[in-house]
């Protein structure tokens, strides 16, 4: 019985780590800018579309000069897609940060509303460029398909996604905790005025952190694309579990987000194994259960954002 559930468990881990990646990007932005970025889902979608352009001729530019590029083997194109998708999300994110500058110091509600408007705009632009139909992101054959181990079928891509996401999370942790840049970002989250007083350019710091957080959403979008497909509204499906992960893990806690992500992913995947239609409800029940007893989530601390 337990043995049969292993493939579901792996799906859950892959899903959960991707939710955690989204949540971590979101929290970086909250930490330094004190902005709830409701456009995070739209940036996720943008990353996925960026990758589609670099991978699939039918979702890409139908121009003559692009043809030699599309003739390249799949792996280099996939690597480029993995760079271009997050880059696109990151650049748009930086643009959004420039718009957000006017709301700093005002009621945090305005930042939240501005990003909500931006989400609407990004989604409509995506519709305008790519239409409303669904795209599929092809992957190199090395990481697609499935294999049989024991007497169960495993999806290669899900295992790849789980490994990729855990590597990303590990690198992010190293970046935040073992490099001077990470130290500045964490200090900015703690007290941005003090960081400025120490001579760091706060404007540039905010721009880069927003871009970085957006790029993390883009990465999650590219990795998720072959699993969920690429539609203009796919971001909403991804960002809501990420919000649940944030509340569950507690705002501002790195390992809180990762463990909450794993919990959500595994609970959703295991419920899906028995009750496909109701799988997402289990996530919300988990949320209600946890916040009833721990109002700031598993590892959250009191923060300025509650004011």
């Amino acid at each position: 019985m337990f043995y049969d559930l292993i493939p579901h468990l792996i799906n859950g881990v892959a899903l959960g780590l991707l939710f955690a990646l989204l949540a971590l990007g979101f929290m970086l932005i909250i930490g330094v800018m004190e902005v709830i970025n409701l456009a995070h889902g739209a940036l996720f979608t943008l990353g996925a579309y960026g990758a589609v352009v670099m991978m699939a001729p039918d979702g890409g530019f139908p121009y003559e000069f692009m043809q030699p590029y599309y003739d390249l083997p799949a792996i280099p194109r996939y690597v480029i897609a993995l760079i271009v998708g997050p880059l696109l999300a990151g650049v748009v994110g930086m643009g959004l940060e420039v718009c957000l500058r006017r709301t700093y110091g005002a009621d945090p509600l305005y930042g939240l509303l501005l990003t909500f408007g931006a989400a609407l705009v990004i989604e409509e632009v995506i519709r305008g460029i790519w239409g409303s139909s669904e795209y599929y992101l092809p992957t190199p054959k090395e990481i697609s398909g499935g294999f049989i181990f024991g007497d169960l079928i495993y999806s290669t891509y899900r295992i790849y996604a789980a490994i990729f996401a855990s590597v990303m999370i590990g690198m992010l942790w190293l970046f935040l905790n073992k490099t001077p840049y990470g130290a500045v970002i964490k200090a900015g989250a703690h007290d941005s005025e003090m960081v400025r007083a120490l001579g760091y350019n706060l404007k540039v710091l905010r721009l880069l952190v927003f871009g970085f957080g957006a790029a993390l959403a883009g990465v999650a979008g590219v990795i998720m694309a072959p699993i969920w497909g690429v539609r203009p509204v796919v971001g909403v499906d991804a960002v809501i579990p990420a919000f649940v992960v944030i509340v569950l893990g507690g705002v501002g806690s790195f390992w809180g987000a990762v463990s909450a992500g794993l919990m959500v992913g595994i609970v959703v995947a295991l419920t899906a194994a028995f009750l496909t239609d109701w799988s997402l409800l289990s996530m919300y029940l988990l949320l209600l259960l946890v916040v009833t007893f721990r109002s700031r989530g598993l590892a959250g601390k009191a923060s300025v954002l509650e004011a």
Partner: protein
């Protein structure tokens, strides 16, 4: 930047009279300005929804991103009450209000201790829970197809019975409810209770130091605003002659926020009314030229948040302010609204 600090004891103000005259005559001139009667029905229902929502967003400063769910619950409750219990207008509308308020009150238990980001994210989660259940529980809600064949029930007063079948007749039913609601909400927001709401928006902790039970007040205002959302939802089910899942989505929950803010719900009682009108007129006018009208509306919204977060009502007040200062002596600034 805030609502005028002066409180009034009046039940009816000049603005309310203007609104009643304007909306009371709307069916007479709406076609003359190139629009259509059904739009008037939509506008007045959404105004009811928006006025109730602004109690939460504008007055108390609680950004609920799941309010569309309550609007939807009201619509379903109206439909189910009519199909399963008693097809009487007053009963069905009351059912819509009571059922929605019950769901709202239960939700508010989880939300009333929260603020800021936790409030916003939890409200999204609750909105999604209701959306999700409504979309999957097909036996009750009809799932993706929705509840069809909801009737526009007649208004019954004893032996008298008024039809609401045509759009104009339905409009006047909604208008009557709108008038009652506007006066009640006007009194409420100018009452001591309204003052406490505004104080909570400014500094929750200080309000609790004074001795108010902040979470009880937040619970009550959330429940009240969901009850109004339920009323609007019930009317919307009549207007659409059906109840559909899409109004419960995150997209629509966000749209109500957008309407309220764009109209200036943060600085004026009338902000939500202006915002709803702007939204629906923009939808019809811009929508006639381009399919991507939401793109332009979204851009307009972003610019407004960046440069004029007080919205239409704020612009109007600035306009009045410049006119007044031009007349008044130059040294004072009498038009400036006290924060």
């Amino acid at each position: 930047m805030d609502y005028p600090t002066k409180q009034t004891k009046a039940w009816v103000t000049p603005q309310i009279v203007v609104a009643i005259v304007l909306f009371g005559t709307m069916p007479l001139w709406i076609e003359a300005v190139g629009l259509y009667q059904y739009l008037g029905v939509e506008v007045i229902i959404w105004m009811i929804f928006a006025l109730g929502y602004n109690l939460l967003l504008g007055y108390t400063g609680l950004p609920s991103f799941g309010h569309g769910a309550f609007f939807g619950i009201g619509a379903y409750a109206y439909g189910l009450a009519q199909f399963e219990v008693w097809p009487n207008l007053w009963f069905c509308l009351a059912a819509a209000v009571v059922v929605t308020a019950a769901f709202g009150a239960a939700t508010a238990l989880f939300l009333s201790h929260r603020r800021g980001i936790y409030f916003a994210l939890m409200s999204i989660a609750f909105g999604q829970i209701f959306f999700f259940i409504a979309s999957k529980w097909t036996d009750v809600t009809g799932g993706e197809d929705g509840l069809l064949d909801i009737q526009r029930l007649p208004v019954e007063f004893g032996a008298m019975s008024l039809s609401t079948r045509s759009n104009v007749e339905l409009y006047y039913l909604c208008f009557a409810l709108f008038c009652v609601l506007v006066i009640l909400l006007w009194r409420l927001t100018n009452s001591p209770y309204g003052r406490v709401l505004r104080a909570i928006k400014q500094n929750e902790m200080r309000v609790s130091f004074i001795g108010y039970k902040v979470s009880v007040i937040k619970w009550s205002v959330f429940t009240l605003s969901t009850a109004i959302a339920g009323l609007a939802g019930g009317l919307f089910a009549m207007a659409q002659e059906g109840a559909y899942i899409n109004i419960m989505s995150l997209q629509w929950s966000g749209t109500i926020v957008l309407m309220v803010l764009i109209g200036g719900g943060f600085v004026s009682f009338w902000g939500p009314v202006l915002g709803v009108i702007l939204y629906f007129v923009a939808r019809d006018v811009l929508g006639a030229y381009t399919e991507a009208w939401l793109l332009w509306f979204g851009l307009m919204f972003m610019l407004l948040v960046m440069f004029k977060p007080e919205g239409l009502a704020g612009m109007w007040r600035d306009l009045l302010g410049t006119l007044v200062t031009r007349k008044a002596e130059p040294k004072g600034n009498p038009a400036k609204v006290e924060g």
